[in-house]
Symmetry: C2
Subunit: 135 residues, 2 copies
Amino acid sequence: MKKIDILKKLRSSGLRPTKQRVEIAKFLFEREKTFHFTVESLNKLLTKKSISKIALATIYNTVHAFKAAGHLSEVEVRGNKTYFDTNVSNHHHFYDSETAELIDIDANDIIIQKIPKAPNGKKIKNVEVFINLKN
Amino acid sequence: MKKIDILKKLRSSGLRPTKQRVEIAKFLFEREKTFHFTVESLNKLLTKKSISKIALATIYNTVHAFKAAGHLSEVEVRGNKTYFDTNVSNHHHFYDSETAELIDIDANDIIIQKIPKAPNGKKIKNVEVFINLKN
DNA sequence: ATCTAGTTTATAATTGTTCTAAAGTGAAAA
DNA sequence: TTTTCACTTTAGAACAATTATAAACTAGAT
């Protein structure tokens, strides 16, 4: 993804393309593979990479803004930290608790044959499959 | 589950049946249906129910001890709070984000037909299906 | 160039959880 | 029984992740 597209992406979702947002967006979206992170890990990586220090609060703000705009998804992971994913399409995850690492699973790689119907007046929003790994 | 069984349950897992543990265990395990809770919600319910106040730290200690003994499981739920479940068998969950409520799904009510193989030297520990509900 | 609503920032506040160390207590041994 | 002591409980401090606050800053319209 090119820088011009980053600016479009931000503008089209009503986000003023500030220096910080562009920097974070480039870091997150200018890559081939999907990227999983926590705010803590993102902060560390950004600090290492850039000259200008971005405040932690800004990283929180930005990640939430990107999520609200549909550019990031939040992953179902047990534990205290919140994991985000640059892959916003419907998909699933492996989780390696040894390394606290997430790995995407394409939606087509899991087929669910039988599923219970939603309770009393509720509907199914989405189905997430989470595969815990061991060594 | 009767009180005598509660005592057995505690003793057999190497947990000294103290007043607090017995009280919490009775509250959690002497019921028909499985019970989902966070430490916060459990604390509120216990405070409402009992004469004697149990310290929050004790509730944390006890819940962790019960989990370590295999009497409770921790549920995969996104967010900051940790959810526990008195159902320790292999099963799945509906999650109603409106009410922040979990509903058990029996393992037999979901059949997965196709599943990817685990990456590089890893094995699959378990598969958790999480069905998000909407209205 | 000026203005202003939206943004960033440092810091405080909040929330969920764990740690600490002192006081209390089951239950085994005397 | 009483004594003893490792295991528990407890209040409060400490910690970690996140959110709120309010002052300074800035993108972009006027």
